[in-house]
């Protein structure tokens, strides 16, 4: 089983594909290692959020994704 990582908005352009599958469980260090240096650098910025299982994490470094979880990387937003 695995964890799905989704790259939203401009992060999609920095990653090789819009999503990737990695082995569960996945913590913050594992996430940084999995996504490659360009996305990892962005994740270090406070204005980039992380959601796990449809909930935005108050502390993204506390990420603890389990089998079947979806982890979304959320850069700054811009709506209508």
């Amino acid at each position: 089983m695995s964890v799905r990582i989704l790259f939203l908005g401009p992060l999609r352009d920095l990653a090789d594909s819009p999503e990737m599958l990695v082995d569960a469980p996945l913590d913050w260090a594992g996430l940084l290692a999995a996504v490659g240096p360009a996305v990892a650098a962005q994740l270090g910025e406070a204005r980039v959020n992380v959601a796990c299982g449809g909930r935005v994490l108050a502390d993204k470094t506390a990420l603890a994704a389990q089998d079947g979880d979806e982890v979304a990387l959320l850069p700054p937003v811009s709506g209508g």
């Binding site: 939203l8 908005g9 449809g54 979806e70 959320l74 811009s78 709506g79 209508g80």
Partner: protein, 155 residues
Amino acid sequence: MAEISLSTPLDTRLIEQHLPAGEALAVFNAAYPGAGAVVSFLGNVRPDDTVEALELTHYELLTLPGIESLAQQALDRFALTGVLAWHRVGVMVPGDPIVLVAAAARHRRDAFAGAEFLMDHLKSASWLWKREKRADGWHWIEPRAVDHGDRARWE
């Protein structure tokens, strides 16, 4: 689009194709016969000589739930009797409707404030990502400082 059936008191949608603003407002107005005031805002993709198209992407697990929560906050905070918040996603061209909000209330000040609250949050605090297509390709857009300021005044 077939005849619009509105859910009350909140109707929030992400719309993949054309946003039927006129029809939606007619149905919204009819749904709240007791409201003394209905205020609406329609945002269109701003015509710009350098922008050929605009694309909004969203995240299934967060975007619509977030807009639903925002609509509920507006309903509670301004004593509204009804809220409509519809946002386009996908590819649009200049002139296309991109967002429609409407607020129904007993009195006009609540309706004005509700509509403005909704828009200020949709602009800079909803899970949407916007990019523009210009002659040299696609460019991601971030909210302007003024958009953050517009939202901060409600805190």
